[in-house]
Amino acid sequence: MSERTDTTTPAVGTEAKTPVADGDPPPMVRRKAGGRGELRKHVTLILALLALLLVGALTKGEDFLSTSNMITILTLASVIGVVTVGMTFVIIGGGIDLSVGAIIALASVWCTTTATQSYGVAGMVLSALLVGLGCGLLNGALIAYGRLVPFIVTLAMMVAARGLAEQISGRQSQLVTTDLLALAQNRVLGIPLLVYLFVVVVAVGWIVLERTTFGRRTAAVGGNPEAARLAGIDVRRHTLLLYAVSGLCCGIAAIMLTAQTTTGTSTNGQLYELDAIAAVVIGGTLLSGGFGTITGSILGVLVFTVIEDLFILNNLEQPIQAIGKGAIIVAVLLFQRFGRARAVPTLT
């Protein structure tokens, strides 16, 4: 990761060397997880989002601002949003997970095999969660206890899990015949159940990251593993758990995607790893670890989803969409850069 050279990386190590009891990380880390700088960062993101909404309102007016379109945007953001929550944990913890898309493919294929579907919704949900969690634990074990590089381990998982998904499904789309589809079709107060599930995952993710020891340890481990170890944190076990969280999120996302597309196929979740990483980075999380927020990541996901929606509603052609997306991402990142530069004093 070239981002390691980022000069704005907070130097956690110096303060954290003071011995602190297990479960009570150094005060500096706690402040970084939710300081004043964070607010300023989100202001730039929120402004970017508002600007996009304004463009949508100006170009496509009623269609874009309609309730049903807003719900469509939220629904589309749901699946990738859940993946991004897991990815945020991994990246703050100083790692990376390239295997999320492939794990989704494997979990969706696994939970739609006839054997699994014959146990109904419960069987499908359970198998998807177990596959996701299992893949995450394997990633984590290889990285934490096998001492392998996260980039390579998750790359290997990305290839292998997709291959296994193709093997199991015979590259055929496996249609869902159970009530699982209700997750995407049924609505409460006009909002699809998928969106509620997304909100729950985000809320849980936010609480864990911002309000629990686990969250504070995540930032500590990502900021400076050696300091975290000296502070009494079991860095290896914690790393293992971070990848397990990411895998579990993939399992949840696989259930959602399967319900949404009515099928489990080995092409599910293609390139989700890049979308999730991009959303996390746009959300202000440092690729080098140690600092980041769920709120930022979710705003990042929304920015991406709104851009795409904007383009499709205006019926722009693919090449124009690609150029536009690239330009907007760079613009938002430049915004972030200026925001972060000003935020540095409050961080350190």
Partner: protein, 348 residues
């Protein structure tokens, strides 16, 4: 990912077909053997066993229902012939790897090669080498850049798919008495030449009837891509009369989006490719999908059959030719509720 078909091919193909039809008609009507009249000499004996033929087969990775079916069809066809040994190399989307595979089949002195190149341009030179080494190459579907690179080409008709989808929609709309219809198109991967040809055929057929496309978006041949794009297009277009979706795998997602938006009964939908699932849906008659235009992987079976005939120096039965023809374009039949039964066996 730029692929395949060189532009002037269409003209050549059409004239070739016309000439072929002429010859066929001549052959059929000529019972009296006047001088200069050719009679199909091989009729009926193509099934009889001949000398052993070793056929080498190379195709892209089976990462999609269609590509998976290509290899399956080739294998199944080869098993039917006692006099054919099929050497199937592992499917790959890596051009360098596929070149190696073809080279190794040349080294093993295969009698005939069947090659579906991942990228026709990139594989042209190695196919030329095979031809120069005296090994006839059957070019399957994606076309090599030079006619020197193959003995016979057999493949699908992307332009014809578009035309047939367009004609079906025009007929349906005329029957319903709709004057100024809203027609939308969901294409596959836009950077592929095959997608561009499908779209051109569709556009031409609609234009001939005085209709035009109201909105067009492309996606990625996957169910999740289809779901995402379709759900947003449905937002953008409040009233739709007809929709053509290029690919039945991505069609699973498109149909899911239509159902989730509660717009199942609103318009005529035509698919593309001819998956077994799509045909079953058409048969059931309770979905917007009323037809699909074929791009049948059975062409791989035909390619192996042709390879056998080439290896045994025989011609095609029923054609008044001494040899296997240079080009064969498969027909993109329109599969509807009425004829689905007939085509279901070829569904991938």
């Amino acid at each position: 990912m730029s692929t395949t078909v060189s532009l002037p091919r269409r003209g050549i193909l059409l004239s070739g077909l016309a000439a072929g039809a002429g010859v066929l008609a001549a052959a059929c009507t000529s019972n009296d053997t006047t001088a200069g009249t050719q009679v199909a000499g091989n009729t009926g004996d193509n099934a009889a066993a001949g000398q052993q033929v070793r056929v080498g087969f190379s195709a892209p990775a089976a990462d999609h229902g269609w590509t998976a079916a290509i290899t399956r069809n080739a294998r199944a066809q080869a098993e039917k012939f006692a006099d054919v040994t099929l050497n199937v190399t592992e499917g790959t989307n890596d051009v360098a790897r596929q070149i190696e595979q073809v080279q190794s089949m040349i080294n093993q002195k295969a009698d005939v090669l069947v090659v579906l190149p991942f990228d026709g341009n990139a594989l042209t030179e190695i196919a030329k080498n095979a031809m120069a080494a005296g090994i006839p190459v059957i070019n399957l579907d994606r076309v090599f850049a030079s006619a020197l690179a193959y003995r016979t080409w057999i493949g699908g008709d992307n332009y014809g798919m578009g035309v047939n989808a367009g004609n079906f929609i025009v007929r349906k709309l005329r029957d319903a008495g709709i004057g100024d219809p809203v027609i939308v198109e969901i294409a596959g991967i836009d950077s592929l030449q095959l997608t561009q040809e499908r779209s051109r055929g569709f556009q031409d057929a609609l234009a001939a009837a005085g209709f035009r496309i109201a909105a067009r978006q492309s996606t990625d041949f996957t169910a999740s891509g289809g779901q995402q794009v379709a759900s947003q297009m449905l937002q953008a277009t409040k009233k739709i009369d007809a929709m053509w979706n290029h690919d039945d795998d991505q069609g699973i997602g498109v149909l899911a989006a239509i159902k989730q938006a509660n717009r199942s009964g609103e318009f005529v939908m035509v698919g593309g490719g001819g998956s077994a699932q799509a045909m079953k849906e058409i048969q059931a008659g309770n979905s917007p999908l009323q037809a699909t235009v074929l791009y049948s992987p059975a062409m791989a079976s035909s390619a192996v059959a042709l390879a056998r005939l080439l290896g045994q120096r025989r011609a095609l039965g029923d054609l008044a030719e001494h040899d296997v023809p240079a080009k064969i374009t498969t027909f993109s039949a329109v599969v509807t509720k009425d004829n689905a039964e007939q085509y279901l066996a070829n569904g991938y």
